[in-house]
C-alpha cells in the first residue's frame, strides 16, 4: 500500500518534471525560430521531409474518408428523403472535425514518429553533443526548423485533406449515387460559414500541428540515448500526440461550436 503511494508520488513528480522540461524546451525552440527565418534553407529541407512526404498519405486518406462519408451519409440521409444535404454533411464533418483530427493523427504517425526517431538517433550517436562542442546550438540548428516546418505544414495538410475529401464525397454522392450536383455544392455553400467553419477548422489544425510537433521533438530530444530508448520515445510520441490531439479537439470544439 505504502509502496503504491510512493510509486504514485514518484510518477507524479517525474511527470511534472517532464512537463517543466518540455515547456522549457518549447520556449527554447520558439526562441530559435527567428534565427531559422534568416536561414530559409534549413526550413525548406524540413518542409520537404515533414510536409511533402506526408502529402501522399494525407491526400489518399482524405479521398477515402470523403468517399466513405458520401456513402454512409447517403444511406442515412435517404431514409429521411434529404439526400440533397449530403454536401453539407460531408463538408461540415470534414472541415470542422475529421480534416484537422485525422490529418493530425496521420501527421503524428507519419511525420512525428520520424522526427522523434531522427532526433533520438542524433542524440544516441552524440551528434547533438558534437554540435555543442562545435559551438553550434542544436536547438537553433536542428529543433527550431523542424518545429516551424511542422506548424506550417499541418494547416496546409488539413486543408488539403478536407478539400480532397469533399471532392471524394462528390464523386460518390453525385457520380455514383445520383445526388444533384447543384444541391451538393449549393447547400454546402449556404450552410457552411467561412468564419465559423473554415477559420475554426484552420485554427484547430494549427493547434494540432503545434502540439504534435512539440511532442515529437521533445520526445526525441528527451529520449534515453539507446536503441531501446529511441524506440520507446517513438511509441510515446504517437500515443501522446493522439491523446493530446483528441483531448484538445474536444476542448476546442466546446469553445468554438458550443454556443450555436
Amino acid at each position: 500500500m505504502i509502496r503504491l503511494l510512493r510509486q504514485l508520488g514518484g510518477d507524479t513528480r517525474t511527470g511534472f518534471t517532464k512537463l517543466g522540461r518540455s515547456s522549457r524546451f518549447l520556449l527554447l525552440a520558439l526562441g530559435g525560430v527567428v534565427s531559422v527565418l534568416l536561414r530559409p534553407r534549413l526550413l525548406l529541407n524540413q518542409l520537404y521531409s515533414v510536409g511533402v512526404l506526408s502529402f501522399l498519405i494525407i491526400s489518399i486518406s482524405g479521398l477515402f474518408v470523403g468517399m466513405v462519408l458520401g456513402l454512409q451519409g447517403y444511406y442515412t440521409l435517404s431514409d429521411f428523403g434529404a439526400e440533397e444535404t449530403l454536401g453539407v454533411l460531408v463538408a461540415a464533418s470534414l472541415v470542422r472535425e475529421l480534416g484537422p483530427v485525422i490529418s493530425g493523427l496521420l501527421f503524428a504517425g507519419r511525420a512525428g514518429s520520424a522526427l522523434t526517431a531522427e532526433i533520438g538517433l542524433m542524440k544516441a550517436t552524440e551528434q547533438l553533443s558534437g554540435m555543442e562542442m562545435m559551438a553550434v546550438d542544436p536547438i537553433k540548428r536542428i529543433i527550431s526548423p523542424r518545429f516551424l516546418a511542422g506548424c506550417l505544414s499541418m494547416p496546409l495538410l488539413a486543408a488539403l485533406f478536407s478539400a480532397i475529401g469533399i471532392i471524394g464525397g462528390e464523386w460518390v454522392g453525385v457520380g455514383l449515387l445520383g445526388v444533384d450536383a447543384g444541391a451538393y455544392w449549393g447547400q454546402m455553400q449556404a450552410k457552411l460559414d467561412f468564419q465559423n467553419d473554415i477559420v475554426n477548422g484552420f485554427i484547430k489544425s494549427l493547434v494540432f500541428g503545434f502540439v504534435a510537433t512539440w511532442i515529437a521533438l521533445f520526445e526525441g530530444y528527451d529520449a534515453v540515448p539507446t536503441a531501446e530508448g529511441v524506440s520507446r520515445a517513438t511509441t510515446r510520441t504517437v500515443v501522446n500526440s493522439a491523446f493530446s490531439i483528441l483531448g484538445i479537439d474536444f476542448i476546442l470544439t466546446a469553445l468554438m461550436f458550443g454556443d450555436d
Binding site: 525548406l44 428523403g81 434529404a82 496546409l156 478539400a163 455553400q189 473554415i198
Partner: protein
C-alpha cells in the same frame, strides 16, 4: 544541386497545393464565395409569418435562384415580418404585381422565398416593395388544423 532543386520544387508545389486547398474551402465550400458584391438591387416584402426563413436563404423564381434574403426584421406596428431581399441585377424586370411566398424545399429542407411574376407592364425598382405575399406554412399548425378538423368530422 539537382537534388535540392527538385526538393525545392516539391516544397513549392506542396505549399501551393495547400494554399489552393484553403482557397477551395473558402470560396467553393463556404458562403464566402456567394457573397453578393453590390451587383443587384433590394426588394422588401411583408409577411404575416416568415417561419424558419434565415438571412442568406435563397430567393428563387421558377426554381432558379435569383438572389438571397439580406435581412429579416419585425415591423413593430403591424407585427409583420419585413423580409429584405437582394436580387441580382440580371433580373431587374420583375413586374410590380409579383407575388412572394415562403416555401420549404422538401419536407425537411430549408425555407426559401419563391417569387411569381404577375402580368403588369411596370417593373419593380430598387427599394421596391412586393405587396402580395403568402406567409410560410407552419407544418405543426397545418397538422394541428387537419387533426382538429378530422376529429370534428368524426364527432358529427
Amino acid at each position: 544541386m539537382q537534388h535540392t532543386n527538385t526538393q525545392d520544387t516539391l516544397v513549392g508545389l506542396f505549399v501551393v497545393a495547400g494554399i489552393a486547398g484553403l482557397f477551395f474551402l473558402a470560396l467553393q465550400v463556404s458562403n464566402l464565395g456567394s457573397f453578393t458584391s453590390g451587383q443587384g438591387y433590394t426588394l422588401t416584402a411583408n409577411f404575416t409569418n416568415s417561419g424558419g426563413l434565415k438571412v442568406r436563404s435563397p430567393v428563387s423564381l421558377a426554381g432558379v435562384k435569383i438572389g438571397q434574403v439580406s435581412a429579416i426584421d419585425l415591423n413593430p406596428t403591424t407585427y409583420q415580418s419585413v423580409v429584405t431581399m437582394h436580387i441580382d441585377t440580371a433580373y431587374n424586370n420583375l413586374p410590380d404585381d409579383t407575388t412572394a411566398s415562403i416555401f420549404t424545399a422538401g419536407l425537411l429542407g430549408e425555407q426559401y422565398v419563391s417569387l411569381e411574376p404577375g402580368g403588369s407592364d411596370t417593373y419593380l425598382k430598387d427599394q421596391g416593395k412586393i405587396d402580395i405575399t403568402q406567409p410560410a406554412i407552419i407544418l405543426e399548425k397545418a397538422i394541428g388544423q387537419f387533426l382538429f378538423k378530422s376529429a370534428e368530422e368524426k364527432s358529427e
